[in-house]
């Protein structure tokens, strides 16, 4: 039995989610920042985290953007396979919702229409849309505004299969070291291992949405997450790169089967303003 949904019903949902994501860090992120404040040993780092917490609280109270870089609007739709859409183009309706969210929310417009010509689109569209088909007749929409500072520091490399676990660790730590404080630590590190180049990068991005503190269900990866979290923090980069014991709030790894010739690894950083909001319709 299919469920018919009109495509225009998602416009107000998107508008609401864009604003909520940009204004409010959720309890999971705020809790992690408070733990980081307690744990940080550097006085400069501690002051920095304290200011970040106060800023996030102020943003929520005033309903203003917690970070000025309200990002590329990444929209993730998990669409039940029993859903049947009716009405105008779904892609257009998503962009209309994003447009309204950024406009009525007084959020920064950071998108240029062409990467070489660089004219601002002035409404922060288009969104970057990911869709996944899931069982059931529901649709879950997640909005993830992704700031440039952290997004720009991501990296991808196809390792040789023989490089294995040690190769993955080296690539991650080399990348973290080379980008220093630029991705606005304390950050979350999303890592994709396996799949193809595109799928690997997507896993790294989606891993950022996993709640801080939650481990991969497979012990091999859970252990690797914990080891990398310790090692990343041992690099001393600290909050905003000004030195300290807390560089990453967490490390999340997801994996996927891959080709016999390859060991793809993708790294996506999520800055301290880890913003996302979701609704199910």
């Amino acid at each position: 039995m299919s469920r018919v949904i009109r495509t225009d019903v998602i416009i107000p949902v998107l508008e609401r989610l864009v604003k909520k994501a940009c204004y409010e860090l959720d309890d999971n992120v705020m809790g992690a920042l408070r733990c980081a404040y307690k744990a940080e040993q550097s006085p400069i780092g501690k002051d920095t985290i304290e200011i970040l917490i106060k800023s996030a609280e102020f943003a929520k109270k005033e309903q203003i953007a917690c970070c000025h870089d309200t990002g590329t609007c990444v929209v993730i739709m998990e669409i039940g396979q029993d859903v049947c859409w009716e009405g105008d183009s779904l892609g257009d309706q998503i962009n209309e919702g994003v447009r309204r969210g950024y406009e009525t929310g007084y959020l920064r417009k950071s998108m240029v229409a062409d990467p070489l010509e660089r004219m601002n689109t002035n409404d922060n569209t288009p969104a970057v849309l990911h869709t996944e088909i899931v069982p059931g007749d529901r649709v879950t929409i997640t909005v993830m505004p992704k700031g440039g500072g952290s997004e720009n520091m991501g990296a991808f490399k196809t390792l040789l299969p023989g490089e294995g676990m040690e190769g993955v660790k080296k690539f991650v730590l080399d990348t973290v070291n080379s980008v220093g404080g630029n991705p606005c630590p304390p950050y979350i590190l999303g890592i994709g291992v396996g799949g193809t180049m595109d799928h690997c990068s997507w896993m790294a991005k989606k891993a950022l949405l996993r709640p801080i503190g939650e481990r991969n269900s497979k012990p091999l990866y859970a252990k690797l997450e914990e080891e990398l979290l310790t090692k990343v923090n041992d690099l001393g980069i600290g909050p905003l790169g000004m030195g300290g014991t807390i560089t990453a709030l967490d490390v999340h790894i997801d994996y996927y089967p891959c080709h016999i010739t390859a060991l793809p690894v993708a790294i996506n950083f999520q800055c301290n303003a880890s913003r996302h909001a979701a609704e199910t319709i």
């Binding site: 200011i51 953007a65 970070c67 920064r108 630029n182 041992d234 001393g236």
Partner: protein, 181 residues
């Protein structure tokens, strides 16, 4: 310590890495696209539309201002992207840059040569920064939207000295203290 803008070369020279400074007075926002446009203007043999002598540049692109507020959320962007323009701006008279993150290896030498400083804001604290801004207006390149040049008035805006006129770098010193790997 509290400092009034515009800074002077003497005051800038007295700053040392790690100093927490509260700035009061006028500064300008200027980032990627505006720097590029200034460069094009200068290359044509024309003058910069703004006199940068002793000025402080805030690498920032704010959110639009909500009705009833003074400014939209505002904070430092990655300073590294402005590195190719830093010497040009020093030659124009700039004395201080406010941004976030690390700089290229040649920036400390430029700070030493021109007597300038790199001041660190906090990336991500853009909501609370609005409390320290008393006015903001577009003065050049309005068509660049958030990237236009804006003149703003800081009221005790907090920064930390990241690179001083001796060419010392705060991040290098501090990260060494906590590095265990």
């Amino acid at each position: 310590m509290d400092l009034t803008l515009p800074l002077t070369k003497e005051i800038v020279k007295s700053l040392k890495i790690g100093d927490v400074v509260y700035l009061t007075g006028y500064a300008y926002t200027c980032r990627d696209a505006a720097h590029k446009r200034i460069q094009n203007t200068l290359e044509k043999g024309e003058k910069s539309p703004i006199d940068w002598t002793n000025q402080t540049i805030f690498y920032a692109g704010p959110c639009p201002t909500k009705p009833g507020k003074t400014t939209g959320s505002i904070g430092p962007t990655t300073a590294l992207r402005m590195d190719p323009f830093a010497e040009m701006m020093f030659q124009q008279g700039m004395v201080a840059m406010i941004g976030k993150g690390s700089r290229s290896d040649f920036i400390p030498a430029l700070c030493k040569e021109y007597g300038g400083v790199y001041l660190l804001g906090i990336g991500g604290a853009s909501a609370i920064n609005t409390k320290q801004i008393k006015s903001i207006e577009v003065v050049e390149y309005e068509d660049l939207g958030t990237e236009s040049i804006k003149k703003l008035y800081f009221n005790r805006f907090r920064v930390i000295v990241g690179i001083d006129t001796a060419g010392d770098v705060l991040q290098t010193r501090e990260i060494q203290k906590y590095k265990r790997l």
